[in-house]
Subunit: 205 residues, 2 copies
DNA sequence: TCTCCGTTGCACACCAGTGTGCAATCTACT
DNA sequence: AGTAGATTGCACACTGGTGTGCAACGGAGA
């Protein structure tokens, strides 16, 4: 009884439990990424676990998706706030943002497809803060005449990172090739001249 | 028996039948556009018809979606071949293409969502010719140094008209505002300078 | 008037996924 | 050894969509 606390990881029990829980979440991203309509059974099998066990960790399918979304929001806001805090030019900040966001966006690309139909509302709600931060960055770029103004900051930011997700969803998406392509393409559509865009990604490979 | 032919519209019978058939197709685009997972029942109700009747025209859900896709392919290839035949600069051709494609893309935007999951393969196969024509146009632009080359013509064309569909799918999509936004944005991401892009859409409102 | 034939309304079987219940099993901790 | 707890394997009920069968209705055409 050297341990009067309640949750000092309790050594192994809860740790292995958390491992399976995390494994389910990780594998759910992959499975749902390939087929957003995959069932709990598919996810369970892919995680090397029985369907019943998944329900032990997540009472319903919605809980699983929500947890996934919360995870994504946490990671993305972390990157975004950090980049947003820097005093670099908006286009440079955007380039750095995409470069660092890329692995995250690629992992959670399924949320794009999941946004419509059934869980769309829940996901949309959770993604709200991310959308705001994104719009702030774009607005800063527009105010300093770095970004084009043919669209409002709200719409433009949505479309711009929609493209990032679209490329992340594309066939040849992993590797740094996708990151470069996504950064350049999004910069271009934000109105940054091609030479400048290429120079920016050169800085941040 | 003044009529020895086989299909002189047979006056009314088959005509009213074709009307309901077309109405089902039209309404299916709307319903599926709002919710790609809508069932045959929803489509039937929206068309003012019983579910059983829909199955009378389309033996299975796949048949309905396939017919819808074939329709889209027909309309899109018509526009694309016409634009592709012109000897204008590639960026001007693209601008005209988007302007004329816009209503079509907006109507069939649901196919974007339907491309993944269940019918994805069938749709993808039917859309093949469109993809080729699109890639040809982009490649022409790249060869004449009008479009950027940070991505291959195949990928770039996909991403570019993916954006068009994304904007068509956006909330404020109908009206000419969406068409302008889609044209400018796609031109920008193709590497066309902002001033040139705006001039191009000015020519074709 | 009588006959097609599209349409309707209802029936059914089928399937796939969801979520729950419960006894059995295995394992880490005491 | 004993126990708590996660996991398993199987059961079940429920839902919702699909596709089919069939008798009945109703209007246009012979």
């Amino acid at each position: 009884m050297c341990n009067n606390g309640v949750v000092p990881t309790e050594s192994s029990r809860v740790r292995s439990m958390n491992e399976t829980r995390d494994r389910i979440l990780d594998v759910a991203l992959d499975v749902l990424g390939e087929n957003p309509d995959a069932g709990m059974g598919d996810i369970a099998s892919a995680a090397g676990v029985v369907r019943r066990t998944v329900y032990g960790h997540f009472p319903s399918r919605l809980d699983l998706v929500r947890t996934l979304t919360e995870r994504a929001v946490t990671e993305m806001t972390a990157v975004l706030t950090e980049v947003n805090a820097s005093d670099a030019e908006a286009d440079a900040a955007w380039a750095e943002f995409i470069a660092r966001l890329w692995p995250v966006a690629h992992r959670y690309r399924v949320l794009l497809a999941l946004r419509r139909g059934e869980y769309g509302e829940a996901i949309h709600g959770l993604l709200g803060p991310v959308d705001e931060l994104l719009a702030d960055l774009v607005k800063r770029g527009q105010d300093t005449d770095v970004f084009a103004q043919h669209l409002s900051a709200g719409i433009l930011s949505q479309v711009a990172y929609g493209v990032v997700f679209a490329i992340a969803d594309s066939d040849l998406s992993n590797g740094t090739l996708g990151a470069r392509a996504a950064t350049i393409t999004s910069l271009l559509m934000l109105g940054v001249p091609e030479t400048r865009a290429i120079a920016l990604v050169g800085d941040q490979p």
